[in-house]
């Protein structure tokens, strides 16, 4: 596998995909900083997890396929595993957050602002 003889269009396309994916992941991570509470912060990293990851994998498929001279699409598996496993962590975090909020509210006699309907 040599990386030298890749046509310019593929180089350009793969690089733009990589940049787009990284920018999305960066924005998602910035969301951790900019969003106000635990529950909304969960939504930030999904950007890097979905389209960000998708762009990086597309770039990888493109370069791998061209340098191997045939279609290489193992990367599909990464998408599959991420989609199948990320709900578990998201649910764990969000349920833990809901539980903590309930405990906190139980401790204080005065009713807090209700974010949970």
């Amino acid at each position: 596998m040599s990386v030298e003889n890749i046509p310019a269009w593929a180089d350009l396309l793969a690089s733009s995909l990589l940049v787009l994916g990284s920018v999305l992941a960066l924005i998602g991570s910035a969301g951790l900083l900019r969003l106000p509470d635990l529950f909304s912060r969960i939504h930030g990293p999904t950007l890097g997890n979905t389209l960000g990851l998708g762009c990086v994998l597309l770039a990888s498929i493109l370069i791998a396929s061209i340098s191997a001279g045939r279609l290489v699409f193992q990367e599909i598996l990464i998408t599959l595993f991420v989609v199948a496993t990320s709900p578990l962590t998201a649910m764990l975090i969000i349920r833990a957050g809901m539980y903590r909020e309930r405990v906190d509210r139980g401790k204080k006699a005065t009713p807090q602002q209700d974010t949970m309907h």
Binding site: G28, T50, L51, I94
Partner: protein, 162 residues
């Protein structure tokens, strides 16, 4: 044997994973994969007491494209919210959606879809399975979210799994 159809579907997808992971059609790997997947499928059969009966392949493919489109669209929507003003960033909240889908595999897929689409996260199903709680980043129009979940995702999932 009663369990065969779902066992073969499971084995076939595992076998596909194995070949894809090794990226080969070499005879040795094909035989090893076959032995391994059958062993795993038989060994874990007791852990999967419920059988999935997916049908309507076309509905599943259509749903896949709908979800991919939604993921791309909401990626940019959520990026806009994160980069937006404080006011736009503090519209998040929990909401409840009445559920008609009962099949556990369908619900599992729905959980994957809702969590994979940026801007919404599955937060729990009520004990009787009639109300789903989700957390939404941009909670301005609850009605629109209910419509999205029910018509775009739940309806096709019921078609596929029930």
């Amino acid at each position: 044997m009663k369990g065969w159809p779902s066992l073969t579907l499971f084995t076939a997808s595992l076998y596909g994973f194995w070949l894809l992971l090794n990226d080969t059609f070499a005879p040795g790997q094909m035989v090893l994969g076959l032995v391994l997947t059958i062993a795993v499928a038989l060994g874990t059969a007791a852990m999967r007491p419920l059988r999935a009966r997916p049908h309507h392949l076309f509905a599943a493919i259509r749903l896949l494209f709908v979800v991919v489109g939604d993921i791309i669209r909401s990626n940019f929507a959520v990026a806009g919210i994160i980069l937006g003003s404080v006011k736009r960033r503090s519209n998040s909240g929990f909401m409840k959606i009445p559920m008609d889908l009962r099949d556990p595999y369908g619900l599992a897929v729905l959980a994957c879809i809702i969590t994979a689409v940026p801007g919404t996260v599955w937060a729990g199903l009520s004990a009787d399975g009639r109300a789903l709680t989700i957390h939404v980043l941009d909670l301005q129009d609850e009605e629109a979210w209910v419509r999205t979940i029910k018509y775009r995702y739940e309806r096709p999932l019921m078609e596929i799994f029930e």
